[in-house]
Subunit: 219 residues, 2 copies
DNA sequence: ATTAATATTTAGTTTAGTCTAAAAAAAATA
DNA sequence: TATTTTTTTTAGACTAAACTAAATATTAAT
């Protein structure tokens, strides 16, 4: 049985291993958890002991299959409570997160089963994120490199394939990042470059190489 | 701000100071909390530091006005969640306690305000215990053995005085339980037995002994 | 290929809550 | 009243989760 704190670490590891590589670095986790790398190092050993992550010194952590299942169970509870707060208690979407962060740690299988029924087995939370089922299965949004999209398609950037600092610097300069909404405006056959609109705001052109290395999630 | 553990100690102190004297002894509290007197001694100092109890060495604790208010706030949350679990999620009365023990520690004034509205501002929990209002005011019900009532009186069964399994089996068979509404229809002077109506539904006769061991709360 | 910079781990403390064993105070009893 | 018994507190240790400072490993840069 994991403690509240351990559950929160596991959730963070799960999220980071989706957005970036599978390997999650100590520093990234420390930043996500708003704590120090030293604390993370300690916690990683505990989680490794409990077989929810695998870990080699200085090599970052990988979430295990057990860990993934546990993380998704917590996420399921979080998202179900969010639905409850919005649909039944008239919370606005920006009021739900903090409370759901607390409610997600309540331990009672019956409670979650009944809550799910009460809410009519919702598939998505108020932010549009999918709710994992009781076995930890998640309808993952299809994730593709940007250059696989066609004109008119859009998606949310969730990761990069190339994580060289030069590429990341380029993205930074262009003000594209994880979470950016990207819509394909035009595709130039000649060199494979694309015109894209970012966050319904600025339009810019990216090379074929860049487009290959930006991963987007589409519905 | 009190921790979960501190809140639980405070609740226990509140309950013990109702049932017995205002003075709560270290040993009694240790038994209630299923811990050691030494741990209780330590905790009492912390609670005293935070002015929720007053305490003189070797003299036991007294809950303060602030402490009472805080304890009643936790009890309010506990009982509101119990109503939710029974009325909305179809829990039975014996399934709610453990889960409500967890839910009562969630910190969000908005959540409790909205939950209260959602449930229609209930005055009593599923066991018939009154729900304190948001200011920590409690409508204490007068609790009496059934045989003390007169014809026409009614109340909600809240407890039993005899908890032998033979008595509980009898109650089970008669379909009387915690939360049942009991109205006195007739009182037979000859042997002290009573005719009662349960939940405005079935009428039955109970012996004087039975009536002495059923406790009811009257408004 | 060294050196410099960055990332990660270890070592040593801290706080909350718990424990056992021992000491001290209060209550009960003779 | 003196003594025994019970209750309560203190002292010292333990675990979980955090921190700071120092040491070590890895990566980047010259």
């Amino acid at each position: 049985m994991l403690s509240f704190v351990e559950e929160n670490y596991l959730k963070a590891i799960y999220h980071l291993s989706l957005n970036g590589k599978q390997e999650v670095s100590t520093n990234a986790l420390a930043e996500e958890m708003r704590t120090t790398p030293a604390s993370v190092s300690d916690m990683i050993k505990k989680l490794s002991q409990k077989s929810v992550v695998s870990y080699k010194k200085y090599q970052g952590v990988n979430i295990s299959e057990d860990g993934r299942r546990l993380a998704l169970h917590v996420i399921r509870k979080h998202r179900l409570w969010e639905v409850f707060l919005v649909e039944k208690l008239n919370f606005t979407w920006d009021q739900v997160h903090e409370v759901a962060e607390q409610l997600e740690h309540i331990k009672s299988p019956l409670l979650i089963q009944r809550l799910d029924e009460f809410l009519g087995h919702p598939k998505y939370d108020p932010h549009g994120d999918p709710i994992p089922d009781e076995h930890g299965n998640l309808i993952e949004k299809h994730r593709q490199p940007l250059d696989a999209l066609s004109i008119g398609d859009q998606g949310v950037m969730t990761a990069v394939d190339d994580s060289s600092s030069s590429f990341l610097k380029y993205l930074d300069k262009m003000e594209i990042g994880i979470g950016s909404n990207i819509k394909v405006i035009d595709f130039i056959e000649f060199d494979g470059s694309m015109d894209i609109k970012v966050d319904d705001d600025k339009t810019l052109t990216v090379s074929s190489t860049v487009a290959q290395n930006i991963l987007v999630a589409i519905d």
